[in-house]
């Protein structure tokens, strides 16, 4: 479901052949984070981070993934949790792009634009840390030419140490050893979703579902509209569907504050509307995007 306007004119399918001039320089074995890819795409075009550049980058990224699966390459999306993150990130971009062009009038527009700015900021931040890390690395190397004094204590001082009191039996000691040697589980930070395999989700189907609900009930919050979603991908798909429906002017959106509750109102009355009007760009079989990632990351990008 992360694929979209790939067939809107730009036919140059980028092939995932590393190293070729004008092609993607990213090599997956050295690949380090989704923002790496975004940054390399952006710098490849030597463009400022503008909406247009990002739109192009978005398309290329999707083509990149597609070409991989089309080639039946060993590139396993299962293993590449990063790609789920970048997919969600690009969906943010896509969402911002779907806004009606022109002046920003509504709070919702602003919220969405802020979401996009947030992404730019995050990209820049990532880039900054990358640069700082490079400096830190050379500093560490430089400093490693200095060796600290760490010699054993001179015997005269070692002899002055207080006599060790030892009350541990061999059995106690073995119990301690067993505990110390036990493999330790990493401390939990958040609920993992690594075990989930996300199936392909159709935006059109989801639009159909929420379209019917809204026609029946008039007003629903986004939370209510996604209460039964059994995966994040479904939530994302329903969010995209809402954007499409907003563009079709069959719904109105209201959000009191950024990241606040999003209220969706059916505004087309009895007008006939079907999900068939959802752009063609979602209407393709898509490679299932699955992967592992921290829940927090995805959540942030799908607010």
């Amino acid at each position: 479901m992360i694929q979209d306007a790939y067939d809107d004119g730009d036919a140059s399918l980028p092939l995932p052949e590393p190293g070729k001039a004008g092609r993607f320089e990213v090599r997956l074995e050295n690949f380090n984070g989704p923002f790496d890819l975004l940054l390399s795409l952006i710098s490849k075009h030597e463009l400022n981070i503008t909406e247009i550049a990002l739109a192009k980058v978005t398309d290329e990224f999707i083509g990149y993934i597609r070409a991989f699966s089309a080639a039946g390459d060993s590139f396993s999306l299962d293993e590449a949790s990063e790609f789920l993150v970048i997919a969600a990130t690009l969906l943010d971009l896509k969402a911002a792009r779907l806004l009606p062009a022109g002046e920003v009038e509504d709070e919702e527009d602003i919220a969405l634009l802020e979401a996009r700015d947030l992404l730019f900021a995050r990209l820049l931040q990532y880039k900054a840390f990358k640069e700082i890390a490079r400096q830190m690395g050379s500093r560490l190397v430089e400093e490693s030419t200095r060796f600290p004094r760490q010699a054993a204590l001179e015997p005269q001082f070692a002899a002055m140490m207080p006599e060790l009191t030892w009350r541990m039996s061999p059995t106690d000691f073995a119990a301690l050893a067993a505990k110390a040697l036990e493999p330790r589980e990493p401390a939990p930070t958040e609920v993992g979703i690594g075990h989930l395999h996300a199936p392909a989700v159709s935006v059109r189907e989801q639009a159909d579902i929420i379209g019917h609900r809204l026609q029946e009930q008039g007003v629903l919050s986004f939370r209510q509209l996604t209460a039964d979603a059994d995966s994040l991908l479904v939530v994302v798909a329903r969010f995209l569907a809402l954007l499409e429906m907003f563009r079709d002017m069959v719904i109105a959106l209201d959000q009191a504050a950024p990241l606040g509750e999003l209220t969706v109102r059916w505004s087309a009355g009895e007008r006939t509307w079907t999900a068939d009007s959802i752009s063609e760009e979602y209407d393709q079989d898509v490679p299932p995007v699955t992967g592992r990632g921290n829940e927090g990351e995805i959540h942030e990008r799908t607010h």
């Binding site: 990532y126 840390f129 958040e190 921290n294």
Partner: protein, 220 residues
Amino acid sequence: MSEHTEDHAGGAPAVSAEPPVPDLASLPGGVPAALEAVLLVVEEPVTEMQLAAALEVPVERVAEALADLKAEYDGYTGQGPDTGPARRRGIELRNVAGGWRFYTRSEFAAVVGRFVLDGQSARLSQAALETLAVIAYRQPVARSRVSAIRGVNVDSVVRTLVQRGLVTDVATDPETGAVLYGTTPLFLERLGIGTVADLPKLSPHLPGLENLQDFDDTTY
């Protein structure tokens, strides 16, 4: 510099049940020599306060003597009557991670390296460096937040950094219960800086995002 201060009264509180410290002024070499002796046995950077307590001299006296010693080891001529023109030594006295410690001078790394069995740990990977950078600048910080900034899962990298002693858990987030990580004194020592505040500024790398901290705080 004069070795002949009589001011021992302002020093740190005396520690009981330990051998009395002789009048340093009466010993050849005085306070600087006493500092050299202590610095020869320390295992990590040691603060001026600790040195002042061990020597029973005021901390200002220690600070002054350390600065003079450092200059002398670096090959600058001492100012006092009993310090002659110095030669640059193979030993460097450095003030890092909040304390003082002897290091070999970096020019001799090739020679010294042959004698250091357990050398410095292997180089950090790019991923580890970037994670370390985020933790250094955003500490105390939860793993999930580092993940969000780096765009990848950082769990195993953080474990490696903890193992290497460069990062440690410093607190627990009161709301989420997540472990918060920060850098260690060893990190500062390896980087050759005094405190986290000495890290180079991040802002030059963030054009137009001077208020990034604000942005950050509302995102997480």
